[in-house]
C-alpha cells in the first residue's frame, strides 16, 4: 500500500493530488524548480525538495532526478499529474524498475496508446470508429505530403507524442503543407522532446466529446460519462461541460460502450480519457486516449460524485474497482473555466507577471482548484494555467449562472487573464443554445468584443487610489470617507 507519494508536477494539479493523498492518509512530497520555491504546491505538501533550474527539461522533465528524489525522500510512489512526463512510457518503466509504484496505467498500455499508429490499429480491431490518417517514423516530408493529398485536404498535422494542441496545424492546401509540417515538428520537439508528427483527415465543424474511463488490474472497465470540450482556442480547451448538449441517451450509451471497449482492448488499469470527435450527423471518431488525469476531470467528479484521484490511487494500490457500470449515474450539470495567464484580445498570447491580489470565488455550487495565491509569480517557463473555476447546478442554466457570478467574483490583479472573455462566451446565445463546436470562437467572433468597457470608470477609481496615497500621511484613512470635498485635476 502506498504510504508516501512524490508528485512530479506543479501548479493546481499538484495541489489537487496533494489534497487527495492527505484525505487518504498518505504523505506527500512536492518537488520544485528554482523559481517555484514559494509555489503553493510546495507549501501544501508535507515535504518538498529542489530538483533543478527553472527550465522544465532540467527539473520537472528530469527523469533521473525525480526518481532519485523519490528514493531519497522515502516515497514509495510517484504521481505524474498531467503534462510533463505523465504520458511518457519510458519514465513509467524506470519508476517501476526503481521499485516504486507509478500512479498510471501499465507500461504496455501507455506505450500502445501513446503511439498513434498502434492505438489506431488496436481501435480498428476493437471495433471503435477511427479517422483516416498517416503516420511513419521514417517517411520523408514529401511522402507525408503525398499521403495528405491522398487523404484529401483539409488535413491536420499533429504531434505524435502528446495532446494539448501543441504542435497542431490545419492545412487546407498542398502549398501550405511544408511550412505547417515543419512548424508542427518544431513545436512537438520543444514541448515533448519528440519531433515526430502525423497527418490525418480534418473533420469540419466537429464537437470534442470525451469519455472519462477507469479500469483496474482485475479486468473491470467502466466509463464515467462524457465531457464536452468544444470551446477551444489554439486547439486548447478553455471551457468544458458535462453532460454534453449534443448527446441523446442512445448516442451516449453507444459512445460510452465504445470508450469501454477502447480501454478493455489494452488492459487499461488506471483512470483515463477516451477522446472522440462527433460530427453533425452523430457519427463519432476515436481521437486518442489520454493515459493520465485530465485538467477537466473535476466536472466529472461534480456530476458523478466520484473522486477520480482517490480512485486512481486505489487502482494503483491494486484494489478492485469499487463500482459497476450501473452504479455510475450523471446528476446535474457542471462547467469548468480554465483561468490562464493570457490575453484573449491578442490571440491568447501568454502574459505572465506577479499576482498582486487574489480573491477566489465562493458560494453554492462553486469549486476552485488553484495553483496560485497572492504573491505567486507566473513564469514563462511553464503552461500558463493558474486556476480552474468549476460550477455545479441542477440544470445547465443554473451551472451557467453560477459560473457567471464566480467569474465576476474571482479577482486576479497583476496578471492579464481570460476571465472577461469567458464571461462573454457564457452570455453568447449560441453557447446558451448548446451550439458548441470546436470552431466556436471563429464562428462567434463577437465574444472577443468588449461591449461593456469600464475603462473610464477604472481610470476614475485610479485617481482615487492616487489621492489616497497622497493623503495617507495626513491621518485620513480613505479619501471617499472624508466629509467635505476634494478635487484632483489634470492641470495640477
Amino acid at each position: 500500500m502506498i504510504k508516501k507519494i512524490l508528485i512530479a508536477n506543479r501548479s493546481e494539479i499538484a495541489c489537487r493530488i496533494i489534497r487527495a493523498a492527505k484525505e487518504m492518509g498518505i504523505k506527500t512530497v512536492a518537488v520544485y524548480s528554482e523559481i517555484d520555491k514559494e509555489a503553493l504546491h510546495v507549501k501544501l505538501a508535507d515535504e518538498s525538495d529542489l530538483i533543478g533550474p527553472a527550465p522544465a527539461n532540467q527539473s520537472y522533465l528530469n527523469q533521473e532526478i525525480l526518481i532519485e528524489t523519490a528514493l531519497k525522500m522515502g516515497a514509495d510512489a510517484i504521481h505524474p499529474g498531467y503534462g510533463f512526463l505523465s504520458e511518457n512510457y519510458e519514465f513509467n518503466q524506470k519508476v517501476r524498475d526503481a521499485g516504486l509504484t507509478y500512479i498510471a496505467p501499465n507500461v504496455e498500455a501507455m506505450k500502445l496508446l501513446g503511439s498513434k499508429t498502434s492505438s489506431r490499429q488496436t481501435m480498428i480491431d476493437a471495433g471503435v470508429p477511427v479517422i483516416n490518417g498517416f503516420q511513419s517514423d521514417t517517411a520523408s516530408i514529401d511522402e507525408f505530403k503525398s499521403k495528405a493529398i491522398e487523404i484529401g485536404f483539409p488535413v491536420l498535422v499533429k504531434a505524435s507524442a502528446g495532446g494539448g494542441g501543441k504542435g497542431m496545424r490545419i492545412v487546407r492546401s498542398a502549398d501550405e503543407f511544408e511550412d505547417a509540417f515543419n512548424a508542427s515538428s518544431r513545436e512537438a520537439k520543444s514541448a515533448f522532446g519528440d519531433a515526430t508528427v502525423f497527418v490525418e483527415k480534418y473533420v469540419e465543424n466537429p464537437r470534442h466529446i470525451e469519455f472519462q474511463v477507469a479500469g483496474d488490474s482485475h479486468n473491470n472497465y467502466i466509463h464515467l460519462y462524457e465531457r464536452e470540450c468544444s470551446i477551444q482556442r489554439r486547439h486548447q480547451k478553455v471551457i468544458e461541460e458535462t453532460p454534453s448538449t449534443a448527446l441523446t441517451e442512445e448516442l451516449r450509451k453507444t459512445m460510452g460502450a465504445a470508450a469501454v471497449e477502447a480501454i478493455r482492448a489494452v488492459n487499461y488499469d488506471s483512470v483515463g480519457t477516451v477522446e472522440f470527435l462527433l460530427d453533425d450527423d452523430g457519427k463519432f471518431y476515436f481521437l486518442e486516449v489520454n493515459t493520465r488525469i485530465q485538467v477537466e476531470h473535476p466536472i466529472t467528479e461534480m456530476t458523478t460524485g466520484i473522486d477520480l484521484l482517490k480512485l486512481q490511487i486505489d487502482i494503483a494500490n491494486g484494489k478492485e474497482m469499487p463500482y459497476k457500470q450501473s452504479d455510475i449515474t450523471q446528476r446535474g450539470h457542471s462547467i469548468e473555466c480554465r483561468v490562464y495567464a493570457e490575453d484573449a484580445e491578442k490571440d491568447f498570447i501568454p502574459t505572465g507577471g506577479k499576482v498582486l491580489y487574489h480573491r477566489p470565488p465562493t458560494g453554492l455550487g462553486i469549486r476552485y482548484d488553484t495553483g496560485i495565491t497572492t504573491g505567486s509569480e507566473i513564469s514563462p517557463y511553464y503552461d500558463p494555467i493558474m486556476s480552474k473555476i468549476i460550477s455545479y447546478g441542477s440544470t445547465r442554466e443554473e451551472a451557467i449562472e453560477r459560473m457567471k457570478l464566480a467569474l465576476k467574483e474571482t479577482v486576479i490583479l497583476g496578471v492579464k487573464t481570460s476571465m472577461d472573455f469567458m464571461y462573454r462566451v457564457l452570455c453568447n446565445e449560441n453557447f446558451i443554445a448548446g451550439n458548441t463546436h470546436t470552431n466556436f470562437l471563429d464562428k462567434n467572433p463577437e465574444v472577443f468584443e468588449d461591449k461593456c468597457d469600464n475603462s473610464e470608470l477604472a481610470a476614475l477609481i485610479t485617481t482615487m487610489i492616487n489621492h489616497k496615497q497622497e493623503t495617507e500621511n495626513e491621518d485620513t484613512p480613505l479619501p471617499w470617507q472624508i466629509i467635505g470635498e476634494w478635487e484632483i485635476g489634470a492641470t495640477k
Binding site: 501543441k166 490583479l413 469600464n454 477604472a458 485610479t462
Partner: protein
C-alpha cells in the same frame, strides 16, 4: 492627473462632493456614488448599476478589476516620460515580445519592405509559438534578434518605419 493605458494618455479630473464622485475622463463626464469601501475594494453606483471595483497599486502601475476585467494604468510623471514610455509613434513600430521567450524564426532583414499584418518574427514562450505581426506597412530599419536568442519582454526585436517617414521634415 494623467494616466497611460495601451499607449494612450488619459486625462482625469475628479472631485468629491457629499459622497458622490464627479469626474471627467478625457471628454466624458462621469458621476459615481461611493456606497462602501474597504482595503482594495470599493462598491459604487454607476449608471444605475451597483458595481464592485477591486484595485491595487504596484510600483508605477495601477490595477483595477471591474466585472471580471482588469484595467491597467501607468503613471505619467511628465510629457517626456510619455514619449519615452510609449517608444513608438504612428510612423515607427517597435516589435516587442509579450513576455520572455526564445526566437524561433526571424522572417525579415534590414531593408525589407513589410506590409501591415505580416508576421515578422516567431517567438516561443510557454511552449507555444507566437507570430508577432507588424501593424504598419513600411521598411525594416533594425533587427536585434536571431534564431535561438532568449529575449526579455522589453527587448525591441525589430523596428519598422513607415515609408512616408523619409519625406517628412
Amino acid at each position: 492627473m494623467k494616466l497611460k493605458r495601451n499607449n494612450e494618455i488619459i486625462e482625469v479630473d475628479a472631485k468629491q462632493m457629499n459622497g458622490n464622485l464627479i469626474g471627467r475622463v478625457n471628454d466624458d463626464e462621469l458621476k459615481v456614488t461611493i456606497l462602501s469601501s474597504e482595503e482594495n475594494i470599493v462598491k459604487l453606483l454607476y449608471n444605475n448599476e451597483i458595481k464592485e471595483a477591486v484595485y491595487i497599486e504596484d510600483r508605477d502601475k495601477y490595477y483595477v478589476q471591474i466585472d471580471g476585467k482588469q484595467y491597467i494604468f501607468g503613471k505619467v510623471e511628465d510629457e517626456e516620460d510619455v514619449i519615452a514610455g510609449v517608444g513608438e509613434s504612428e510612423d515607427i513600430e517597435n516589435i516587442v515580445p509579450p513576455m520572455p521567450g526564445t526566437i524561433i524564426k526571424v522572417n525579415v532583414a534590414v531593408g525589407d519592405k513589410v506590409n501591415e499584418g505580416d508576421a515578422v518574427i516567431v517567438v516561443e514562450a510557454m511552449k507555444m509559438e507566437t507570430n508577432l505581426y507588424t501593424r504598419i506597412t513600411g521598411k525594416v530599419t533594425k533587427v536585434n534578434a536571431k534564431e535561438g536568442d532568449r529575449v526579455d519582454s522589453d527587448t525591441v526585436l525589430v523596428v519598422i518605419e513607415k515609408e512616408e517617414v523619409e519625406n517628412k521634415e
